[in-house]
Symmetry: C2
Subunit: 734 residues, 2 copies
């Protein structure tokens, strides 16, 4: 016991700036004391047992969207929420969801080989042998196709890889490419392959990514065995997620006859994911140049890029049907501000058994709901309305959340305070990303939850790891791209959003495979459900505080800080590109590339590129400066000291302020994405681009569009700053 006390003393020294302070953002005086009292007994209410039982039950059968198990899971959840005292409904939508009818991949030269495309049962994994309802390995929203051609290895299959292929004299036109997972979200791979003229795309899991290179493979360890492949969506979600046939509106009509040709976000070429067991004969048969060093994976042979002599035949047909997506919506009405909604959600559908992804996060959310229900049974009521959400169809295309939020867009923009998302969670360290104004809320929740392994706070552990890795240890929230259900709330509707979970000490290499199972989870992900519990403890605190706070615990200064930083970044990006282009062009003109190249390899030498013009960044710089000033003004407003009417008006202005960062016309070529500060990258997928209109135009060397976007983005940020100024002025009575 004594040792522990000394440890705690020592630990206080490494608590970050947000740590030592014991207050709660948004609370003052009496309400602070009330909240602290409410939370003082909170941790005693959480239980691991229930989470374990729910997970076992919810992962017993393949429960993807449209499956009977998914419906059963939704109904089970709804039943629980009702028992805990929530007004609960299941809201069902009917998006397009293709499942495979035909999957053939064979090599026809230099020798014949037919890919297995099967994940066998493994010993000690009770569900891995279940065939009923099991979705085979495939990429959702691949187009139908029957193609043959020489094979080319394209590394991750991102634009830079095709640039490198071009330098090596390799053209993928009319060919089938094989890319490894990693380096981008998977949907980028067939998109870029098609842009470069390929007729088909294979994606495989190189053991360097999540196989034996990373650790022992399942069932000995938690990593991907030779015959396991990664399912997943390849829909062009950076254009818009959700039902491809109903962008911007809810897919409520179950009776439509879907025409997949109307689906803009389906891939242009057929695409199939395979295991490294299936990929080995294909890659081994490639000739041509040896792959650049950074392209080589962990398979035991020399990686070549081709094209050929390997030739492959890929045939895919899908059942293009509508599938019911069952969203669970559970409400606890607010006592004082019922029209302000705190939203907390997670998806419940998985690629088959989906234990870590998503049930680990789902059972955390359920435990939060159960605990709040317990409080309610003891007489407590949240000031604001709390809504727990269990999404269906996240895996194929964020279907459930997108359709629901599109359907309820007007209400949500009117009532929503914050949307908090989780997805997978596992043993390790707290991590969070999202709207920067919420960083204090997150830090304080982390501060107040004890790490189950070390008994330090989860914030202290987070901070210690950052320190040891030589990183800044003040909690800052990185911007969100895409990859889970916050997308529609943040990027389409302008609702402040968070995504959080734990991780980093798991052995998880079976993502989107049949082996993401209960048995795998309890051996390699979070054996004692300690971190599903910690997730619930952090989540519950954030929900409670958002629900009960006097003033919304959202600050403007962190957003202003980000905008200034990103403005600097895009300016530096242009400057860097200018210098590099100039230097490179000089070298090209001087023949340096020719002389440095190995003449036997016959490289295609780079050509002179257009120089980078100086851009007028002033609109962005001025907007960023104004926002810094405006943020100071609003953050200084003492809501508790305002007369009730003024306070309410101010709070209302603040609640919808984020929506001022939307532009109705959206981003170029993707009007669904309306937020000017961030979006999933057009060529990175999940990976975020900040100031996306400006940044992507620069990256694409589209100087005209860059100037336009600087103007538009600057104007929008200006509008946001003005909104804040006005709110602050009115609050202070000027």
């Amino acid at each position: 016991m004594k040792k522990m006390a000394v440890l705690f003393l020592a630990l206080q020294m490494i608590v970050s700036a947000q740590g030592p302070e014991r207050g709660l953002v948004g609370f003052r005086g009496e309400s602070l004391a009330r909240e602290q009292k409410l939370e003082s007994g909170l941790d005693g209410l959480f239980q691991r047992q229930g989470q374990q039982e729910w997970m076992k039950r919810m992962t017993a059968a393949p429960h993807h969207v449209g499956s009977p198990a998914s419906r059963a899971v939704a109904e089970f959840m709804a039943e629980q929420f009702r028992a805990w005292g929530y007004e609960t409904t299941i809201e069902t939508f009917y998006p397009l969801f293709p499942t495979p009818r035909v999957r053939v991949l064979e090599m026809t030269a230099p020798e014949r080989f037919t890919a297995k495309l099967e994940e066998p049962a493994v010993e000690g994994d009770a569900t891995s042998g279940i065939k009923a309802g099991n979705l085979p390995v495939y990429n959702a929203y691949s187009i139908d196709g029957d193609v043959s051609g020489e094979l080319v290895y394209v590394n991750y299959g991102v634009p830079a890889d095709y640039q490198r292929l071009k330098e090596m004299g390799v053209d993928v036109k009319g060919k089938i490419v094989i890319a490894r997972y990693g380096g981008s979200w998977r949907g980028i791979k067939p998109k870029v392959a098609a842009e470069n003229g390929a007729v088909g795309c294979i994606i495989y899991s190189d053991p360097s990514g999540d196989g034996y290179f990373q650790g022992d493979v399942y069932p000995k360890g938690g990593y991907r065995p030779a015959d396991s492949a990664q399912r997943g969506s390849v829909m062009d979600m950076p254009v818009y997620p959700g039902d491809p046939l109903t962008p911007g509106v809810g897919a409520t009509d179950a009776k439509r006859t879907p025409d997949p040709k109307q689906a803009q976000t389906v891939t242009k070429i057929p695409v199939l994911p395979i295991s490294y067991g299936d990929a080995t004969p294909l890659l081994r048969a490639l000739g041509g140049r040896v792959a650049p060093e950074a392209w080589r994976g962990a398979l035991p042979f020399t990686y070549h890029v081709g094209p050929g002599p390997a030739k492959v035949h890929l045939k895919l047909e899908f059942d293009w049907k509508l599938a019911p997506a069952h969203n669970v919506v559970a409400r606890m009405k607010g006592s004082e501000k019922p029209d302000e909604w705190v939203l907390r959600g997670n998806h419940h559908d998985g690629w088959n058994f989906g234990a870590a992804d998503p049930i680990s996060g789902m059972v955390a959310v359920m435990e939060e709901a159960r605990v709040l229900g317990e409080l309610a049974k003891k007489g407590w009521r949240p000031k604001r309305t709390v809504v727990f959400l269990g999404w269906d169809g996240e895996e194929p295309a964020l279907l459930g959340s997108t359709e629901w939020a599109e359907q309820h867009a007007a209400e949500l923009q009117k009532h929503a305070v914050v949307y908090i998302n989780s997805d997978s969670t596992s043993r390790g360290f707290l991590s969070a990303a999202g709207t920067a104004g919420l960083e204090k809320l997150v830090a304080q929740a982390g501060r107040d939850v004890t790490d189950p392994q070390t008994r330090a706070s989860t914030l202290e552990r987070w901070s210690a790891r950052r320190k040891v890795n030589g990183q800044a240890d003040e909690l800052r929230l990185g911007a969100l791209g895409s990859g889970s259900d916050y997308t529609v709330f943040l990027h389409h509707l302008g609702i402040p959003s968070l995504n959080f979970g734990f991780g980093g000490e798991d052995s998880y290499g079976v993502y989107h495979s049949n082996y993401d199972s209960y048995d795998h989870f309890v051996r390699f992900v979070d054996p004692d459900f300690q971190y599903t519990l910690a997730t619930a403890q952090v989540g519950a605190r954030m929900v409670l505080r958002l629900a009960n706070a006097d003033a919304l615990p959202v600050q403007a200064a962190p957003v202003a800080r980000q905008v200034s930083q990103w403005t600097k970044e895009v300016m530096e990006l242009a400057e860097k590109m200018r210098k590099e282009t100039q230097k490179r062009n000089e070298m090209i003109r001087a023949g340096a590339f020719k002389l440095a190249a190995d003449p036997r390899l016959h490289d295609v030498l780079p050509e002179v590129e257009g120089e980078v013009p100086y851009l007028n960044f002033a609109p962005l710089e001025n907007a960023a400066a104004r926002l810094e000033r405006a943020a100071k003004l609003v953050d200084q407003v003492d809501v508790a000291a305002l007369p009730a009417e003024k306070a309410a008006k101010f709070e209302e202005a603040m609640r919808v302020a984020e929506q001022r960062l939307l532009r109705e016309e959206g981003l170029p070529r993707r009007p669904w994405f309306k937020h000017v500060l961030h979006a999933p990258g057009f060529y990175t997928g999940y990976g975020v681009k900040t100031l996306p209109g400006v940044r992507e135009a620069i990256e694409q060397r589209n100087w005209k569009e860059a100037e336009e976007q600087i103007g538009k983005t600057g104007a929008t940020i200006n509008g946001y700053a003005e909104w804040l100024e006005k709110a602050a002025m009115e609050a202070s009575g000027r």
Copy 2:
């Protein structure tokens, strides 16, 4: 023809500072014109045919030191040199050279496996099946031993790796370690293993280093096949190279009875190199922690560190005999300054067939000698004496060169001007390292030799590659560590030295194996002998210019520049260590490492280290500053304008100036290494340490020794500066 002209015009723009100038360092007026005339017909004299024939002949049988083939090679070379007009002798020494009697490596648990330790014949390689005289895979100067123990994987086996093992709670005491090649010179691996208490050491060639990860394996490509292993010396050469029984003197006595116990530089534990074929079952059987990511190679399983459950038995016995090392010494006497010797050498012994290493370099040196012989037959004579040298026994321990130079130490310090070494050479780019004062000589030779593939100059190609890689493109010579026969000349005797060759466009992964053969060379290293020819063209120019120059083409300013830079580096090193130690200690005291660690892994947490004191660097700084001034003075002396006697005196002073950088007592714990500016690293082997006394004391946190070495090194550099000042003063008559 026209296109070519345009190309050349363009190329002039990328010629480095040393390029456009057409003069020759050390020549003026008439003698410059004479030299230019002499060289104008030079390139027409070089032939590839002879090099090809010599290589075929010299690589027909295993020709390691002590073998009949080595003697035959030496006699063949001597015969050639004589035919070309050189006074030629074979000088034979008798160093200790162990060869294997017993080699057993077996795994005894968890299953039995006996290592093959054999390189089979491969198709299309005429010599790979020759067994007669073939030296099996072994490490020369491993001690005899018969040891058993649990196996531990130690990555490269350098000190930092053992630090990491300690953090993982793994102790190698009483165990047998397996290290992969790379990360240091091989002799460091058993040395550090023994320091850490291991009882045996296995070194294997991971395919990530020179096997299939790098390119197709022999005979399909040029890289190492599964059963190939890397022979090589593991003698503690950073202490002293050459015969372990006669440090500092020539091993001239053939009749001694060698007592290997007297050999200080033999390893403390037995060590054996193996192939990745033999290593696979051993590594695959290891348990324990998964190896850190940077430790993982390209074998198709998860790398673990152990210890065990793999247990191995290693038994090695050697024949500890003296072997005759036949050095070929060929002289062409100088017409004007016969007592000034220009030395040019390469070794002729190989690990068995040794085509690339060393015959590629040896045939270049021979071609230089032949061409100078041709010139001599037409009536030309060098002003200074030229000595061509073919060393035996380089592979086991730089035996031939070290014993010869120790034997002739006094004469060499009196007469030698410069020693120029080559070793392997191959298709690609010029590279050179050595005494910085020779950089202009090297750059001008590179400028005047045409690259055989591009028809640009070899300097232009060098410069282009540097530019494309974003590096400075002015030719600077890096300092020499060890790894070839310049070692004794530079570090022990203080004779300005160079090492150069071509490379970078070969596919050479068969280093020190049976497959470094003629057949391999003509497919994967330098198919048309274009670069053995270019090597000869560069070498011949440097030899000719050194032999004929009015004044020695050695400058002082580049050395002064290096000393200033290295002084700054060691100061920054201490400062960096100070900050890191402080930061790390703070984190340790705050418990950050404990909180950041995965509790399930039971890491051994780092302990607080002594803080880094401020050191008095003033003696070094003052010496460096004085040297900068002195170098300016001597480089300004116009030798051609001096009266003959003064010029001769000045030149003599300059010729021996480098010896002023030696300290008689040598470096701490290795008195044989006397140069204060550079030495092979005590813990890196081949890798150079500059200002080694100071730098290594700091690295080892030996602050007292660091202060002492700063004083001593400063004093020595001061003495060198004083010598230069005096020479300059006397020349200018003051």
